[in-house]
Symmetry: D2
Subunit: 362 residues, 4 copies
Amino acid sequence: MAPQQPINVGILGATGTVGQRFIELLAPHPYFKIHALGASHRSAGKEYAQVTKWKLAIPIPESVRKMIVQPCEVGPFKECGIVFSGLDQDVAGDIEAAFRAAELVVFSNAKNYRRDPMVPLMVPLVNPEHFAVVRYQQSQLGLKKGYILCNANCSTTAIVVPLKALEVKFGPLKRVMATTLQAISGAGYPGVSSLDILDNVVPYIGGEEEKIEWETSKILGGLLPNDTGFDLHAKNPLKVSAACNRVPVIDGHLACVSVEFAAENKPSIDEVRAAFAGYTTEAQTLGCPSAPPQAIVLHDAPDRPQPRLDRDLHAGACVSVGRVRECNLFDVKFVCLLDNVRLGAATSSVMNAELAVEKGFL
Amino acid sequence: MAPQQPINVGILGATGTVGQRFIELLAPHPYFKIHALGASHRSAGKEYAQVTKWKLAIPIPESVRKMIVQPCEVGPFKECGIVFSGLDQDVAGDIEAAFRAAELVVFSNAKNYRRDPMVPLMVPLVNPEHFAVVRYQQSQLGLKKGYILCNANCSTTAIVVPLKALEVKFGPLKRVMATTLQAISGAGYPGVSSLDILDNVVPYIGGEEEKIEWETSKILGGLLPNDTGFDLHAKNPLKVSAACNRVPVIDGHLACVSVEFAAENKPSIDEVRAAFAGYTTEAQTLGCPSAPPQAIVLHDAPDRPQPRLDRDLHAGACVSVGRVRECNLFDVKFVCLLDNVRLGAATSSVMNAELAVEKGFL
Amino acid sequence: MAPQQPINVGILGATGTVGQRFIELLAPHPYFKIHALGASHRSAGKEYAQVTKWKLAIPIPESVRKMIVQPCEVGPFKECGIVFSGLDQDVAGDIEAAFRAAELVVFSNAKNYRRDPMVPLMVPLVNPEHFAVVRYQQSQLGLKKGYILCNANCSTTAIVVPLKALEVKFGPLKRVMATTLQAISGAGYPGVSSLDILDNVVPYIGGEEEKIEWETSKILGGLLPNDTGFDLHAKNPLKVSAACNRVPVIDGHLACVSVEFAAENKPSIDEVRAAFAGYTTEAQTLGCPSAPPQAIVLHDAPDRPQPRLDRDLHAGACVSVGRVRECNLFDVKFVCLLDNVRLGAATSSVMNAELAVEKGFL
Amino acid sequence: MAPQQPINVGILGATGTVGQRFIELLAPHPYFKIHALGASHRSAGKEYAQVTKWKLAIPIPESVRKMIVQPCEVGPFKECGIVFSGLDQDVAGDIEAAFRAAELVVFSNAKNYRRDPMVPLMVPLVNPEHFAVVRYQQSQLGLKKGYILCNANCSTTAIVVPLKALEVKFGPLKRVMATTLQAISGAGYPGVSSLDILDNVVPYIGGEEEKIEWETSKILGGLLPNDTGFDLHAKNPLKVSAACNRVPVIDGHLACVSVEFAAENKPSIDEVRAAFAGYTTEAQTLGCPSAPPQAIVLHDAPDRPQPRLDRDLHAGACVSVGRVRECNLFDVKFVCLLDNVRLGAATSSVMNAELAVEKGFL
């Protein structure tokens, strides 16, 4: 349910590519009102449109064009109910900590606190129950209002949504093998040199495989009893192995996934398909404005999903799944796709914030 | 050792894309002399250069330009010691059978006889010992000289070379998971529409996954006792699961592979790397002209092999392997790459023919 | 002004790529109601969704899914106020003539009647005054209601809109040199093989240069006195030279154009820019629903327009112009861009039909 | 004729992309021996292979791997008969001047001295007679041996070779309109971001159009009487207008060119074709090792040359020309193509050095 009056929000790293996506999503948002934009000292004090190399298809929203950019310090963000962070990892750590210490709520797309055992790593279509750990985080740090909550890496998000749909229906998973084909936009701008990727594939993305492996474990099975944080280590029986490739695609991460269930009793392919098609999430039932009508779009055509044809489904807020079939080695294999610049990044963070509103975590 | 005088060879399907590759390889070949070119009745009777839409970078070899194209009938090929077949699958079955029945030796790139339990499916860098089955084939059919021998599908070839290198050193394999990123040239010409593949990936290639799965089994473990053909079914303990994708790359099939060894005693990553780097094949030791100096080129850089940078190594006659590392689920994972239009097709067939010369199977 | 009740329209070639675009535009159209769909005899008698390989991003409109496809004969289209033709050129000639002879109004995207001296070749943002020739066409053929009207080739459309803007302000043009960089979608589906265009440019599109040269002349200067048809020959003083290239771009034809004015008195670059930015057309002033808010979007950034970034402006119904600067040889040069599958094809035909409604030519 | 013993040569900017090309060409060169490699102070003192991110398909030549990189100072290059410069423009000016002042001969790929009225701008297949200006340069600067000689910009080179072939046969040209489609490698590495060029064209390359316009004039008509340098201004009657585009092609700049001859008497298209096909240059007749067997390869197929298919002709040392046809506005139009990383860069500089050997300018 929409708040009675719009909640002031701030955006850190507002001139960067993730920051621009935050602005695109938040400027017309029914719950939120952009109150402060933060960027480097070089940009601070100037109008947003002057200091930003805007890269999106839509023009800069009018309400933002002439806002004066602030330094990434607590002062100008004091009135913000939520601060979204699209900061680069080399500065995000200190700044986000300082904001939290000042009792601000930080929804971060940066990776610095993803491994923190007190910080939820939240995919809004997967684990909103992890909000409970926020209370533990606050108690540990002696805070009343402030906390940090991270969204997951884009390729993790693509995979963990269909995995969760399976877990909900068929119980814990045992093994997951995933090979990704990731879009160039995942590397930011300028990111991947055209000389490296035209007529080519690069079978390596630094740190990406490890992220998929441990993030999936934290999200699906890492919660400690009584919501007292996360175990990042061996307790989780789910094992994941990932292989990551960069391909010459603008937007849309695709993954080929094989899954083994923990239970002896294996579902049929039809039951698996039904689990995907019927997967419903709290973000949808609570009426979050950014939640897609279907969390998972199940494709019947044998050659779908495809990045260029399917990345825009439901405004990039869902995951596409197709080619559900038996695996010779595990129980089932399938292909999944997500829009890495939307549900894989800023859209997740915004939907997490909507969940915070709906679930009373502000 | 080179034959005393060049062996006359014929090429069926000589105007097609595979046929053109055969001509490129055979025109300057030290063992062979192009004696007859076969194509459809529409082309028969005309000069080769007149009826061919030549697509290769080199010009049509002078010795071939004015050769008169023959129909694909036994008559004009009677004097050929070997007949290479680049025929389409819809006609290859009957024509190749008729040639064999006429006591001709057929090395085929078509898929029609790949599953035949009497026909070797030969990757020259992997299983030349399967030539022995040719004698069984002849005895069963009452032939003295004629036989059919097939090379494998291009994506199978990419995977089975490194798998064989592992098997040689560490014994039988138990499970192999492979996800391919395949080049557009694998679909022939005109093949893949540019509207389907630019800024896109197609996560489906009809029949390809099944081919990788059963071809790998036939090649690595399917030989029956006493060389009496192949068992295509359950006996082979090696299980393979494949997922195939088409990517916007001109040439070069890449695969991400995870392997589990059958033995309890697992090799270290360094031992696996040494097995790849040291893999030597009969084609090399016998001095086959098309054999590469290294069957497998092992890459150290973390982001190699890459299709555009590595597909031309050793004239496309080797397989590149890189990113050898531990797998969370199986024992080892790696990336491999082959030039699908060379070792993945005509080069394999020609190297098989060189092996036939060296091993006395003509 | 919208008609009092929706006008029934038919679509010939409804299952093809242009036909699908017509359906996308007409299904939600405020003036028109899809009444009949025509296709080959193979498809006739079956439901539209069953016989169509739908290629658009949106799903098939519900109102069309279950419509029974008709043969391309006059009978089922008798009640149509307008018939849109997306037929292939090999059948369009006879069918469109038969429909006209039956007093039906045909708006055709096919090229068969483009050179006909009685048929207007209409770009809706350029020459709606050519509707007057429709009366001449009817009188010559003894018809009361029926006529044929064609839209122009996509690359001609890209160029002729900015040329018209210049002509309106600065009088007749004398010489135009145009080099195009055209998208693959211009060749239809499957169209251009990926092997021909990936990492490549093809500096040739059969017949395209001639089309640009004579179509531009017909549209800008070919009208005979008293609206008695068109002179396709020498009388027009405007000379055009075109060079056409296919580039690896999905949608969006770009052209580099140099223009020499006929008048001695040359406008400044600023005046030329103002002429582009201020260009207003009858389609806009009459309120045609498909008319863009700006016929020409003038870009200031030195590196715009670009196909991927600018093809979607105003739903693909405008032309983008940028890089307006002096030419060392002629008077001015610039870059222009249009969405070839929208304003370059079906959108033009539909906007022409809207003009027919507004101007009383039904 | 080869020098009696190899001439020692140095390479400035040896670790960069142009420097790597120089090494590729010079390591196996019959006339030259790599004696010294210069790079930034950061690299100086270390082995070449250690400090270089090598990007070429061939491995680093053995003779170069362990050479100790020198600073770009005169000392270590004193024994060099020729110094090739692949320096970046921000440092090339001062360093090249210092080397010349120390009586060293500098063949530069940098742009700093291209506009210098005493420095020849030499395309080896076009204007070797401009070597004469080197004597003037030396006399003006009081030098005995040292001089600077530049090769031209890559896109200029593509155009000026066929223009020269026309000028030789048909006399001076009056007007040239050229639109280029340029490869991404022309921007160096990392150069063009993949997000800017995939599924896109960028109709702008900073400074490139001006370079084509004035470089063509200097090369074809700028020589002052008595070889006393070059007139960069109005005297040359040849006028050029260029429009430059970046396209998603790895290597190979293509240009669409229209030409008007100064003479009243116009050659036929067949005569123009013969002029291209028969064009012979001094580099060839003198037997320069890098000179191609044909300076211009004339293509007959209506859709050639194409970058991917034709850029490798004659090891990238020739220019391809095709589609020779009448122009509606000027006299003739055609398409030309060159390999921008070879004849468009290092290969030109090396061939210029070979000409210096043959013509006695060392």
